[in-house]
């Protein structure tokens, strides 16, 4: 089986916001919709003894996606390869998914009147390309691939480097893995 997943290497992220802008232009999203925010913590400390970390966020493409469970129409759904996506014609814009998602990854697309989300650029992925946010990232802070394929970079990283998942206690089984660290270590 294929199980798509992403690794975020925070040791490499520099918060350039390429992913934020690129996702929106590639997917032709309205100006108020962001699937890919990057949060910055710092500089923390007192000059000159400071450090800084950046946290790129995205839909976690959970194994137990709260948004899919909450969706009354079946518009929010998950493919066998793990990709959680929205079938636009079925979405009635009730926002149940927005309330249920612990990661704040669901937002209203006001132009379409639906609750939009990242779909791991599934059209690109099926053409053998990477999701656009991954390709556009100069820093290669995002790594995408098949977690079930032991030769893939994501499965090697998840198997060899300490990674964490966000809000594990919510039991959604998120499939975005974070390598936590500061710059220059990765």
């Amino acid at each position: 089986m294929t199980r798509y997943a992403m690794v975020m290497d925070t040791r490499r992220c520099i918060s350039c916001h390429s992913c934020t802008v690129a996702c929106r232009t590639w997917n032709e999203l309205p100006i108020d919709l962001i699937h890919n925010p990057v949060l910055t913590d710092g500089p923390v400390g007192t000059f000159p003894n400071v450090h800084m970390t950046h946290m790129p966020l995205i839909c976690m493409h959970c194994d137990s996606p709260a948004c899919v469970a909450a969706c009354p129409t079946g518009a929010s759904q998950q493919d066998p390869d793990g990709v959680v996506w929205v079938e636009e014609t079925k979405c009635i814009g009730c926002k149940s998914c927005i309330q249920s998602c612990p990661y704040n990854a669901r937002h209203v697309n006001h132009e379409l009147g639906i609750a939009a989300k990242c779909d791991f650029c599934k059209i690109r992925v099926r053409e053998g390309k990477e999701p656009y946010c991954v390709q556009t990232c100069h820093q290669r802070a995002r790594i995408f691939g098949d977690l079930d394929d032991p030769r893939s970079e994501v499965s090697k990283l998840v198997g060899s480097v300490r990674t964490v998942r966000l809000l594990e206690e919510r039991r959604t089984e998120p499939h975005v893995f974070y390598i936590i660290g500061t710059g220059g270590q990765g």
Binding site: R12, I14, S15, C16, H17, S18, T20, V21, A22, R24, T25, W26, N27, E28, I31, G42, P43, V44, G45, T46, F47, P48, V50, H51, M52, I123, E127, Y132, Q135, T136, C137, H138, Q139, R140, T182, G183, G184, G186
Partner: protein, 743 residues
Amino acid sequence: MIDLKQDDVEIKKSCCYFCHQNCGVLAYVRDGEVIAIEGDPDHPTNQGGLCCRGNIALKHLNHPARINRPMKRVGERGANQWEQIPWSQALDEIAARLADVRENHGAEAVATAGGTLRTNDWARRRFMNLFGSPNSFHNAHLCWIPTFMVETAISGWSPFEVDLAASRVIVLWGQNPGASALPGMRGLSDLQKGGLKVICIDPRYTETAAHADMWLPLRPGSDCALALSWLNVIIREGLYDADFVANWCIGFDELAEHVKQYTPEWAAPLTWLNAGQIRQAAHMYAQNRPGNIQWGTSVDQIGPAAGATMHARALLRAITGNLDCPGGDLIAGPAMNYITDEEMEANDWLPEEQKAKQIGADKYRLCTWPGYGRIAEIAKETWGKAPTAEWMCEAHGPSVFRAILSGDPYPVKALIVSATNPVNSYGNAKEVLEALKSVEFLVTCEYWMTSSALYSDYVLPIAGALERPTIHNNYGVADYLIASQRAIKPKFERHTDYEFWHDLGHRLEQAEMWPWDTDEEAFYYMIYPLAALGYEVESYDDFVEKYRMYFPPVEHYRYAKEGFATASRKVELRSSVLEELGYPSLPTYVGPAENEADDPKLAEKYPLVLTTGGGFMPYHHSEHFQIKELRFLMPHPQMQMNPRTAASLGIEAGDWVWIETARGRVRFKADLTEGIHERVVFVPRGWWFPERSHEGADPFGVLESNTNVLTSTSDDMCDPIGGSWSNRGLLCRVYKDAQGDRA
């Protein structure tokens, strides 16, 4: 989503113009329209990546505010009233006016100001040489060019090529690739995994400093003291390459004697670092050979100390034996296998008496005809080729603006501005704006209506990256080239700048000197010699599609055969070129442009130290402020200061503040960060407000938050060697703007 797999979609190999990297872009084209772009995975620079700016290419191409047709002024200057006219009529009328200026005031009364890496500047120089004027200029003095020329004076050609896979240490001297050269940052992050040590010299805790092994937050503008003290440590402790120095350098004993005075203890209070830090950094550089010192714009922008600092930094590379060795700073020399920009410039056509009239050449002699002429002569003896004159040999921009206003040394009556907004980009913005308002005849080649274009007699619509081919060869001084093709024909009546100079030349008795009717024809002429190496192509586009690039094999130790390309064939630590031009032959300490030691009274009034000019996301120079897909990331101008300093001034995060120097004041929002010294203030460049009115004394708000209101270009604030003016290391004060938010 548009289906990019359809049969009628063509993929073109284009590039990006939104910084100097010229990253590769794949453009998906259908029916003459670009329907999508993405980073080119096969491009050696970006390997598929694109920063946020690169990703808005289509927003730029199709933006409703773009200038799409030639416009002739019909109202008062600055009234923003225009008549649309055909391109050919505009060119006829401009040519007639230029001929008139030449007849009445001499060719030198026509000057041109250029922008960066989105134009064919050899074509501009070709036009100017044939027209007879020596007064072309860019912001070159602030961006690498003096560095290139000082280093070329010392080692025969600037050793700017890298070989980082074999390097053990890299010094980023005022360079922040994490915000201004993302492909470079990726390379560093990769190499750090393999053990490359990174030393970052920067007053700010930048994206890059946050990844460095050692961060040296020096006082802005004190780089000269730091470089000299590194020389002191490396020589005193015997960390230099004794064999290389003995065999390949001249002037070492004098240098050793000369730098004895520049101890780390001497440098500590000047740089605000401690002596231990300075020693440790010098050790990290000198004891991890091979190493590389990277250029950053910072030293080019520190004013009076710029040339001496570049000189000292060049000597660090030389005495450590890092020149042209594997993993060091490589000296590639000019491109031997294709026609260089310099060979396209027709420099021999400019008469000597016109060269002598170049504005600023009497004061700033290295990057003008006196110094360039000597360096080009030596280079031609070695290679038969020389560095580009455009960039390396230019009129001094601020002196040209003053000539417009004062008529000294002679009147400048016409100015052609291409790909730059001088009010944002040059120092002393208020003076520049006055000059643009006063010059008798002003033509601007632009994408947008700016505060400079506003005062023009003609504004010409220029094609962007997707609408024209591009040869990237690092200002014409690389030995390689990367080629991109046009994705589509220019939209509307947009033209390339090549066509502008070509069409102007045809109207001013230069027709036979412009045998290439299109950019592609000219580029094909330039690359044609590559056929001898097996690059057999039938057109320029053919080259792009088949090869895209040409890189000669990397060679090391080239000097072993013929020596270095200097008069002595050695590395001239004691520089004969600088000496001939009347400058110190060894680097001698010069303090920051304004500083507490030399002028304590000024420091009392202005107790903080300003740094400015550094690149930051999501903007580039004065670009992209009208692109809402980027502007949302930073909607308001933001300066940085330390929270403790802010607290002492009653300033809270997000407050509007004034930053003031002896020249004027600008308004920014306060971003408080521990990533900056309590006495340092960072004010970013480029800000203007395209959404505001053109009316009044401050068109498009170009003076309100423009850091160049704070900077100085007066002759005493410029580097006597290269002419760089002062953006960094100036004294300022900060206070809250009581009015706060306003429209």
